[in-house]
């Protein structure tokens, strides 16, 4: 292969040529290139601002989620798994089971439709007789059965026929989650 040694003039010509080509590229494509770089950077800035906004928005939800999990554990309620058509029946069965397990003998159980304005699915009235501790235990368990129950009223009277026993009359409301739209507090 012919190895040509470049003279100083050849090298100078090459150098000038390379500088000229680079200058041409910078002149004609530099502005376009810079513009595209700036556009990309502006898009990235927008993304970062959007990310900051979303982060601000999501920050309170960290606590909300923790609170929600705690309440779900306390009440043992998974709202997503509540089946509206069979909710009342399931709740009634659970109450009867809890009463039976606690030693409370249940009497008549009456169900009626709930008040739509109060977002109630159904209202229930039940009577039972049992020892004081059993009745108290039932009252306590009603909150943790896994159903959205609110005890409207409690009436306790001594049971004359059974010493040591009391008679309890409960009025319960089963809340309807599907009618719930947003955050509401009891007045």
């Amino acid at each position: 292969m012919m190895m040509r040694n470049l003279s100083e003039r050849d090298r100078r010509t090459l150098r000038l040529g390379v500088i000229g080509i680079i200058g041409y590229l910078v002149l004609f494509y530099g502005a376009t290139g810079l513009k595209s770089l700036e556009t990309r950077r502006a898009e990235y800035d927008q993304l970062t601002q959007q990310a900051r906004r979303v982060r601000q928005e999501l920050l309170p939800y960290e606590n909300k989620v923790l609170l929600l999990e705690k309440l779900q554990q306390t009440f043992r309620i998974d709202v997503t798994k509540l089946n509206r058509p069979s909710l009342v029946a399931e709740a009634s069965a659970a109450i009867q089971k809890a009463a039976q397990a606690g030693g409370v003998q249940l009497g008549p159980i009456r169900e009626s439709p709930g008040s739509a304005s109060a977002k109630e699915l159904a209202a229930m009235q039940l009577e039972g007789v049992g020892q004081v501790t059993s009745v108290m235990q039932l009252l306590h368990q009603l909150q943790n059965l896994g159903f959205p129950l609110v005890i409207e009223s409690v009436q306790l009277t001594p049971e004359s026929r059974k010493p040591g026993h009391i008679k309890v009359t409960l009025q319960l409301a089963i809340l309807n989650f599907e009618q719930w739209k947003g955050a509401r507090r009891n007045a």
Binding site: E43, L58, F75, H140, S153, P158, G182, R185, N186
Partner: protein, 510 residues
């Protein structure tokens, strides 16, 4: 020492005073040079044709021509340079050359022995450096370069006698080499491997032959064989004796010229006819030094200079130790300056790239990952309203669970022993009503106080108090508890008035 690229073919050329020798390592040619009165070459075309036909390469590589020139007109100076950096070395040297030589560096073709080749101050930075500079008029070398241009050769020029000195470099570091030529002789003095003097002596074979011809009254052509045979002729030959005497006288003049320049102990003698006339032996006797001949193989195009260049080339392709540079000082300085300029340009380019990277690199690198992550988060955001709804529902459930058990505990703790409760009712709105029988009215009063002190009830009223038999009192009590967020009111029962007590079923008194 600079190295030639190994793949380049080399041709060695000697531009003598009267002849041109060309050798390529295997064969050579010798062409006489005809000069004009001003010393310029007259038969330029003939020489070009001879070189071209000898070194013509066809399709092969363009050979490099390493050229040795005569020492006529060559000056040697030892220059002391102050300590300086590598970048400034050439510029400083050019200044000193202009100072030391009669012509400026732009008018000279010059080269130098680098400080580490001098053997002085080689590795001491911060101390003056001694540099040996050898220079010749640029037009002399330029003429030879122009002659080689049509032959498509890349020439490198050095001084012939310096190349010849390479033949005895390994023998003694301090010596002198005498190259006896046809018209003049060249003497180079070497100290510690670096030339310390170059001199042209107007003494050559032609003059020797003329002396013998004058002594014997014959023509110089007839004297030539007599000079060669004088050393081997028998001692009785009177003619040969006369020739020997004449030769010795002529060599005495040569020795005197050598002594003016050189005072060393080792002398090497070379030249085409030196072995035959015993020049080394004669000079050894006349100068009182050790003198050895350097044998030149018989062949066309061979000489001490050619052999010296060839031995350098065979030594891993080494360049001659001194190369006469045809470029001017400004271009030499520019050769170094661009390196520094390119360094700064590279630093500037690196800084610009760093600036662009700082500003734009993050956008390029993180844009896609950030947009993907945002898309994922935006998809998850659809669950947020549901979370709000569920939380609100459960919080409503929590706040709307009336504290029935709390109220019963407080009531049980506040009631005095013997209290008989006939009925008790509570509702979600916070209303509590009790119908009970107490032992005395004081117990009723105490009950009310304790219920209020408990903090759970905002109002406690006795709707009815009816005295009964045995100082008993039948009471109907209504209370309303505070509708605040559930408080662990069981803690409040630790007050002495509200010690925990079991809720006893009413005992029959009848």
């Amino acid at each position: 020492m600079k190295r030639l690229p190994l793949s380049t073919r080399n041709v060695w050329i000697e531009f003598g005073g009267s002849s041109l020798r060309v050798h390529d390592g295997t064969a050579g040619i010798e062409v006489p040079i005809q000069r004009l009165e001003n010393g310029k070459i007259a038969n330029r075309d003939e020489l070009i044709g001879a070189i071209r036909s000898f070194a013509g390469n066809g399709w092969g590589m363009r050979p490099r021509a390493i050229c040795a020139i005569s020492a006529r007109g060559v000056s040697l100076r030892r220059i002391t340079l102050p300590p300086t950096t590598k970048d400034n070395f050439d510029q400083l040297l050019a200044f000193q050359v202009e100072k030391e030589f009669p012509l400026g560096p732009d008018e000279l073709a010059w080269g130098c022995y680098a400080p580490n080749q001098n053997g002085h101050n080689s590795s001491h930075s911060g101390s003056p450096q001694e540099v040996t500079v050898i220079a010749v008029k640029k037009e002399t070398v330029a003429e030879y370069a122009d002659l080689l241009k049509p032959c498509e050769l890349n020439p490198l020029f050095t001084v012939g006698v310096i190349a010849a000195a390479e033949l005895c470099r390994q023998l003694h570091r301090s010596h002198a080499l005498l190259d006896i030529g046809e018209i003049h002789s060249e003497l180079i003095c070497v100290e510690d491997g670096v030339p310390s003097g170059i001199r042209t002596i107007a003494w050559g074979y032609r003059m020797l032959r003329q002396c013998v011809a004058d002594a014997l009254n014959i023509s110089p052509e007839a004297a030539d064989p007599l000079v060669r045979e004088a050393t081997v002729a028998p001692a009785e030959d009177q003619r040969a004796q006369k020739v020997r005497q004449t030769v010795e006288l002529a060599f005495a003049r040569l020795a005197a010229s050598i002594r003016q320049t050189w005072k060393g102990q080792h002398l090497y003698v070379t030249g085409t006819g030196t072995p035959q006339i015993g020049a080394a032996h004669l000079l050894s006797r006349l100068l009182g030094v050790t003198s050895e001949p350097i044998h030149i193989p018989h062949g066309e195009g061979t000489s001490a200079a050619i052999l010296g260049l060839k031995s350098l080339g065979e030594r891993n392709g080494a360049c001659p130790p001194l190369v006469l540079d045809l470029r001017n000082a400004a271009s030499v300085a520019r050769k170094r300056r661009p390196m520094a300029q390119w360094k700064w340009a590279a630093i500037a380019a690196a800084l610009v790239i760093a600036l662009l990277c700082l500003r734009y690199a993050e956008a390029f690198i993180r844009h896609d990952s950030l947009s993907q992550r945002l898309a994922q988060v935006n998809a998850e955001r659809e669950r947020l309203p549901r979370i709000d709804r569920e939380l609100a529902f459960l919080q409503f459930l929590e706040t709307n669970q009336p504290p029935y058990l709390n109220a019963l505990v407080i009531l049980a703790n506040a009631s005095a022993p013997g209290t008989r409760i006939q009925s008790l009712s509570m509702n979600r709105r916070g209303d509590l009503s009790i119908r009970a029988t107490m032992q005395n009215s004081q117990q009723a009063t105490d009950l009310r106080s304790k219920l209020i002190e408990s903090g759970l009830f905002s109002t406690v009223v006795f709707d009815e108090q009816t005295p009964g038999p045995n100082r008993q009192v039948n009471v109907r009590l209504s209370a309303r508890w505070r509708l605040t967020k559930s408080v662990n009111l069981l803690e409040k029962t630790n007050t002495p008035a509200l010690k925990p007590a079991a809720l006893q079923p009413p005992t029959r008194t009848r």
